[in-house]
């Protein structure tokens, strides 16, 4: 394991920084159900970190702990060198953590552009009154934010649907719009909850490319949950494997693929290599 405070360079030339977020002995209970049992892992700056596991393994709960939506009963979340107290989700967002949702949570009646602009909310400082009057600072701010939003629209190649109401878009594009909205917040950590669920091969390839490009172009740290093994193994630098709320593996895709506990629990004993590649 590399030193948590040191940077290193990956084989494809990307620089992975020191640890930016650390989960220490997290336990999360819903009544009598232990969704997460004593899990620890870290996320390094600039890396793509995947969390995988079978249905009900606690992946989404884990993501909700990172995003501050759930407060674990035990354990600590360390972010940028200090322990994070229990927070409201919007406070977490202000700290630079943005996310997408497994079952798409966009404003269906609003246009793509307006949806992306909502991602800029944490960057808007002018009050409601001045925004209503549309004078001075509010106008300037809107122009600046629109510029950021437009660059992201360009980046994700959704110019053609800029003015289209989200409700009229196909599923794959909605997912991309959601990514655009998360990116508009200019997050330092981006959480993706099953970004490729329900997509066809072509859409998956597009999405994978966008995830890699985001990481490459903006240096955004990405933590993602994904079911598609091929995608996870191709995309991520390191993988955490969960099963029944416990961590059963952690390491590079190669290490995880050859971890017997992971093979047994998740990938299945009978057809291990086939699923893993």
């Amino acid at each position: 394991m590399k030193d948590t405070a040191e940077s290193y360079v990956t084989k494809d030339g990307r620089t992975i920084g020191p640890v930016v977020m650390e989960m220490k002995n997290i336990t999360l209970r819903f009544g009598g159900v232990e969704a997460i049992k004593d899990i620890s892992f870290d996320i390094r700056e600039g890396e793509i970190r995947a969390i995988i596991g079978p249905n009900g393994a606690g992946k989404s709960s884990m993501l909700n702990v990172i995003s501050g939506f759930y407060v674990p009963q035990e354990g600590e979340v360390w972010y940028k060198g200090s322990r994070r107290p229990a927070m409201k989700p919007f406070e977490v967002a202000q700290q630079g953590i943005a996310r997408t949702f497994q079952n798409i949570a966009l404003f269906e009646g609003m246009s793509v552009l307006d949806n992306v602009m909502t991602g800029r909310l944490t960057h808007m400082k002018t009050g409601m009154l001045s925004q209503m009057l549309w004078r001075g600072a509010a106008e300037r701010e809107e122009v600046e934010n629109r510029e950021v939003a437009e660059k992201i629209i360009d980046f994700l190649e959704i110019q053609a649907i800029r003015k289209t109401p989200v409700a009229r878009l196909p599923y794959g594009l909605k997912k991309r719009v959601e990514l655009a909205r998360a990116l508009a917040a200019e997050p330092s950590i981006l959480l993706l909850d099953e970004p490729m669920a329900g997509m066809n091969v072509e859409e998956k390839e597009d999405m994978s490319r966008f995830i890699l490009d985001v990481n490459d172009e903006f240096g955004t740290t990405i933590a993602l949950i994904e079911h598609d093994m091929g995608v996870v193994m191709d995309l991520s630098d390191r993988v955490v494997v969960m099963d029944y709320g416990k961590k059963i593996g952690d390491g590079t895709p190669h290490e995880v693929r050859n971890n017997q506990a992971v093979i047994d629990a998740y990938l299945g004993v009978a057809h291990d290599e086939e699923d893993a590649t």
Partner: protein, 656 residues
């Protein structure tokens, strides 16, 4: 700076025109591009400065006179500027089709020995890097969009704006040399080299001189009264001669503004926002737009549908006559005005045609219904006939003499001759200099007196002087019975049906004609949706019995109409199949300009053609397909062979 002028005192090179425009139209918009949701624009004087900065930067990088510079990407102002910058340096720009695969690019770049390339984005950079080993003369690449390219080895790679900056920084060092190089450019120096799409064999590099470009731009601009205040939308491939002449030649000559869309997907929105006054599109674009209008009208409320039907019927009756300035009764005129208010105006606005003063279509025959639809709306859509070797213009339709079945009268300065075998020859100031490194082909195409063979068979209508094109001369053959075989004639008739995207007719030397049909997924798919017909793939839809039945009806309708033509009644389609895949340029079946490559199709589908002639009711086949990313796969299918009703030539029977 003293630049050479041609005898009439006009600038004698493209860079000279740019300098003239920077002075004459200094603050008028020259280029616009939508980026980040906003139309960015550059005036002529800004354009000149941008082009000059790039030219200086390329000189610093070592671009020499006579070098070739490949330019690859979608239509963007900066890529047009790259062409001009290359010309300023005394180099020759060679625009390539942006969807060409790496092998096609390797062939062209190797053939001209390109030392530099200016490309749009990572995709193009990757393609060139893939084949770099096959390009011994290739040295430097300049890219526009830095996305995804940060970690590439930048030893031989430079970002466009950085090259321009370098040019500005080293201005003092190179400006004198750059001006000296421009001063050397005259009417006979090469302005651009464009590769033909290559319907048969390898593409050929057509060398066009400044004379070709400027004379053509000048006479065609005058022919259509183009103005400095005109706007065009540049969205057709930059490697195609038409785009070069419209967006560079005529734009430079008249000083109008070239607008570039944000991306290929946003073309229609951008078209509407710009509202071009001068517009060009191949027939399929008009066809697609009409299909979309019709599909959307089907979903409209009953009142709207009725209004649309009522006024469109009136437009068809009097619209073209009003457009041509003919006598139309005042009652009809009033009704047409009402229609303009309720239907035509809003429709033209939606299509982006509100301001079109001159519209052209060319490249293929356009269906008469489609052509009349646009003309009846009051859009001055016309046809022209041309080719790369002529710097586009051979014939064009003057205002007031527009018909769907001719390609017009000779353009100013063009002479026409029809050879004994029916092939059309022309001679004009636009006639190309030569095929690069191919003296043999040059001699085969252009004779000592400057007459060029078009390769098309046609005839001139005696009473109107309009040229009519029948088919490619080499495709015109004889049936076993000795009757004339002109496949394109029949194919065009088939393609006029919205359901038919592509058709290939066989029968040269045979006793009967047969055909391959490609259905149009948009039109047929919409019909299927409307009629609750489920389908999972193109292949499944293509062999649906009801689709087959519709195609059969179309084929029979075409047969009935072909039967009426004395000369070509032998070309009726006796048997046909609906193909299981779309003919595709990636598979080599079409050219990049979407023209059918007969030889290749004949070889590739020999088994299906055999089945069309041996009377089998169906045929099983396996076809190799190439995906967009270059991977190959294959699809298997069993195709039904159908027989179509043919019609006797009544007149001949009566005569006997």
């Amino acid at each position: 700076m003293a630049l050479i002028e041609c005898p009439e005192g006009q600038p004698a090179s493209v860079p000279a025109l740019l300098h003239r425009n920077a002075k004459m139209f200094a603050d008028a918009p020259a280029y616009r591009e939508k980026e980040y949701g906003i139309w960015q624009s550059w005036t002529w004087s800004q354009t000149r400065d941008e082009v000059e900065a790039l030219a200086l930067g390329m000189m610093e990088m070592g671009l020499n006179e006579g070098d070739f510079v490949s330019i690859i990407g979608r239509n963007r102002p900066r890529l047009y500027w790259a062409m001009m910058a290359a010309e300023m340096c005394g180099a020759v720009p060679v625009p390539l089709y942006q969807d060409a695969n790496s092998e096609e690019m390797a062939y062209v770049m190797n053939h001209c020995g390109a030392r530099f390339a200016v490309v749009g984005d990572q995709e193009q950079v990757d393609k060139i890097l893939d084949v770099k080993d096959q390009l011994p003369e290739f040295e430097r690449m300049i890219y526009l969009d830095p996305r995804g390219l940060r970690k590439y080895d930048h030893a031989a790679l430079g970002q466009y704006m950085e090259v321009q900056q370098m040019g500005r920084d080293t201005r003092d060092k190179h400006i004198a040399a750059l001006e000296a190089r421009q001063a050397k450019l005259d009417y006979d120096s090469t302005g651009v080299m464009l590769y033909t799409s290559g319907t048969t064999g390898k593409p050929k590099g057509v060398v066009l001189s400044n004379r070709n470009i400027i004379e053509t731009a000048k006479s065609s601009s005058e022919f259509d009264h183009l103005r400095q205040s005109d706007d065009i939308l540049a969205y057709l491939p930059m490697a195609w001669v038409g785009d070069f002449i419209f967006s560079v030649g005529q734009a430079m000559w008249t000083g109008f503004c070239t607008n570039c869309p944000e991306s290929a997907d946003t073309m229609h929105v951008d078209l509407r926002e710009i509202g071009p006054t001068y517009y060009f599109a191949p027939p399929r674009v008009f066809e697609m737009q009409l299909t979309n209008v019709m599909i959307r009208m089907e979903d409209a409320s009953r009142l709207k549908k009725w209004l649309f039907g009522y006024f469109m019927a009136h437009a068809r009756k009097v619209g073209p006559a009003i457009l041509d300035g003919k006598d139309v009764g005042s009652g009809d005129r009033l009704k047409y005005r009402l229609g303009e208010m309720f239907i035509y105006g809003p429709l033209k606005n939606t299509l982006g045609f509100s301001r079109v003063r001159v519209g052209y279509t060319a490249g293929e025959a356009i269906g008469p219904e489609i052509f009349d639809f646009y003309r009846s709306l009051g859009i001055n859509l016309k046809q022209l006939y041309g080719q790369t070797e002529a710097t586009v213009f051979i014939t064009a339709q003057p205002d007031g003499e527009v018909r769907s079945d001719t390609v017009g009268v000779t353009c100013p300065g063009v002479e026409l001759r029809i050879a004994d075998n029916g092939e059309v020859f022309y001679r004009s100031p636009g006639v190309f200099v030569e095929y690069y490194k191919n003296a043999q082909s040059t001699a085969d195409t252009k004779d000592a007196e400057g007459w060029v063979a078009t390769g098309d068979a046609g005839f001139i209508e005696p009473d109107t002087g309009h040229l009519r094109i029948i088919d490619r001369a080499k495709d015109v053959g004889k049936m076993a019975s000795g009757a004339l075989f002109a496949p394109k004639y029949v194919e065009n008739k088939l393609k006029f049906f919205p359901n038919v995207l592509e058709a290939v007719v066989f029968g040269n030397g045979k006793s009967e004609c047969t055909a391959f049909i490609n259905i149009d997924l948009t039109a047929v798919g919409n019909w299927a949706e409307r009629n609750n017909i489920g389908y999972a793939s193109y292949q499944e839809l293509a062999r649906h019995p009801q689709v087959m039945q519709q195609v059969q009806e179309h084929v029979e309708a075409v047969n009935a109409s072909v039967a009426e033509d004395e000369m070509l009644s032998g070309c009726q389609v006796h048997r046909f199949v609906v193909l299981h895949k779309e003919l595709d340029a990636d598979d080599g079946e079409l050219t990049r300009t979407r023209k059918v490559r007969r030889r290749i199709i004949e070889e590739k589908y020999a088994d299906i053609i055999a089945a069309l002639y041996d009377g089998s009711p169906q045929v099983s086949t396996e076809t190799e397909v190439t995906y967009e990313d270059g991977r190959k796969g294959s699809i298997k299918a069993t195709l039904e062979v159908r027989s179509a009703k043919v019609f006797a030539d009544n007149r001949k029977m009566a005569a006997e």
